[in-house]
């Protein structure tokens, strides 16, 4: 999570950790980071984050889920899983590439980010994959048979960890979503917060 924060600051916005639902007040964008989706799900329950997160999403605030964050946001999750937020109209499979020994890095093309012809070094760690997506979901990147990055309105989803490489283009893309949603494109300093839920 500290990597997300560092990346956000590098891209010219301010980021803070959110550890309780009250921390969501006034945020202009939210990243639900990687970690273990089982653990994150339990923390969402324990600290009663669910309604606040659903409200935030419904109000149009951009929410970016990476890896475990994607699983938490997905409407459908294959295999055993606790209650999710069901924000984004996608179906995901957890640990789609296997356990840690099969975790990998790969250059992929991500549509819509700056200089999109230049590959993005994507780091997949016990990563999930998006197996199916609703009609309103725009596919941004694929790897093999699966979708590994997508956007649905104010929701951004990635199966990999854009915060673990030095490349800030995906965070830039997300901050553009944030700036568009608050209206003052490039003129207002957006307060971007990061969630540790």
């Amino acid at each position: 999570m500290s990597e997300h924060l560092a990346m956000i600051e590098e891209c010219g916005a301010r980021g803070v950790e959110v550890k309780r639902p009250s921390g969501l007040d006034g945020v202009h964008g939210l990243i639900i980071p990687g970690g273990e989706s089982t653990t994150i799900g339990k923390l969402i329950d324990e600290y009663k984050f669910e309604s606040a997160l659903l409200e935030l999403g419904a109000s149009g605030v951009p929410v970016f889920g990476t890896c475990a964050g994607l699983i938490v946001m997905a409407a459908r999750v294959e295999g055993r899983h606790g209650p999710g937020l069901r924000l984004a109209d996608v179906g995901v499979r957890r640990n789609a590439f296997g356990r840690q020994v099969d975790s990998f890095e790969e250059d992929i093309v991500v549509r819509g980010i700056e200089d999109e012809g230049r590959p993005f070094r994507a780091v997949f760690i016990r990563a999930p994959v998006i197996e199916e997506a609703g009609a309103g979901v725009e596919v941004m990147a694929r790897f093999g048979e699966g979708v590994v990055m997508a956007r649905e309105d104010n929701y951004l989803l990635s199966a990999f960890h854009p915060e673990l490489t030095g490349d800030g283009r995906i965070h830039d893309y997300f901050l553009r979503m944030v700036r568009e949603s608050i209206g003052g494109i490039g003129t207002r300093r957006s307060i971007k917060r990061d969630s540790e839920v």
Binding site: G34, G35, T38, K42, G98, I125
Partner: protein, 293 residues
């Protein structure tokens, strides 16, 4: 597709930051740990307190037990191999465990050399009592560190000593001019390249958890405030009166380590903690922290 790179190995540890990794010896304990919010479990044959009490040679756990735990939980499963026992490490890698702890808690298999961790695709975590030891382990390919503390004692004093030693040495390195770094490497008995990296960045290049003696929520929060990225809890949970409640309380205190009111709340009515050992009553040859070279 590149597997087993430093980024991938160190990256998993990054995802565990701010969390608690719990020692478990069977499926039931693993489920309790997962239910309590552990970010990973460490599968081993006996918890350190039992190893200390019963003596004998402590080895890698039975593969059947580890497999059972891997099937029972969805969080990452780590397992311990003996220092220098690269075949135990090969076995654990072949089984697909997510992280290997080359651990001083088990009886060392080699009194001169650690496992060459670069040769493995699975990442390793290793213990250290000071910066020199930490950087030697990184030089051998460890992707995550933990301070050793004194395992199986329920006494946090050694964990504090080791964390302060490492953070203090990192701070000192960061103040040194370049021409002093080679001598610093010599004093630390650490690889020069690792010393330079730490000096330039002013921090360790990998995640560093605290381990060895954490028994209460306040212990866990203490280690977090001293700069730990997360905590390992071994005997402290399953040697206490009410493991499930204590496990959950330690997880909450680790997340909210800067919130004394919450720590007070979660610490209330936990039942008895493990009894614990006074370090000065343990003879030097029975101190686990000095295993490792």
């Amino acid at each position: 597709m590149e597997k087993g790179t430093d980024t991938v190995k160190r990256g998993l540890a990054e995802m565990l930051k701010g969390g608690v990794i719990m020692d478990v010896t069977n499926v039931e304990h693993a489920r309790i740990a997962e239910e309590a919010g552990a970010v990973a479990v460490m599968a081993l044959e006996r918890v350190p307190a039992d190893i200390r009490a019963s003596g004998g040679v402590a080895r890698m756990a039975d593969p059947a037990v580890i497999e059972g735990i891997m099937e029972a939980v969805t969080i990452p499963v780590m397992a311990k191999c003996r220092i220098g026992h690269f075949v135990e490490a090969q076995v654990l890698e072949a089984m697909g465990v997510d992280y290997i702890d080359e651990s001083e808690v088990l009886t060392p298999a080699d009194e001169s050399y650690h496992v060459d961790k670069h040769r493995f695709r699975v990442p390793f975590v290793c213990g250290a009592i000071n910066l020199g030891e930490a950087l030697r382990r990184l030089g051998e390919g460890a992707a995550m560190l933990r301070t050793k503390g004194e395992a199986g004692t329920g006494n946090v004093v050694e964990a504090v000593r080791h964390m302060r030693a490492i953070t203090g040495e990192v701070r000192r390195l960061a103040t040194l001019p370049d021409e002093e770094l080679m001598s610093a490497a010599k004093e630390l008995r650490a690889p020069y390249e690792e010393v330079v990296e730490v000096a330039r960045a002013g921090k360790l290049p990998v995640v560093n958890f605290s381990a060895g003696g954490i028994a209460t929520p306040a212990d866990a929060a203490l280690m977090m405030q001293l700069g730990a990225d997360g905590v390992f809890v071994g005997s402290g949970i399953f040697k206490s009166e009410e493991p499930a409640v204590r496990a959950r309380a330690i997880v909450r205190a680790t997340t909210h380590f800067e919130d004394p009111e919450l720590i007070a709340e979660v610490s209330s009515g936990l039942g008895e903690a493990m009894r614990g050992l006074e370090i000065s009553e343990i003879s030097k040859e029975n101190l686990i922290q000095f295993r490792g070279w």
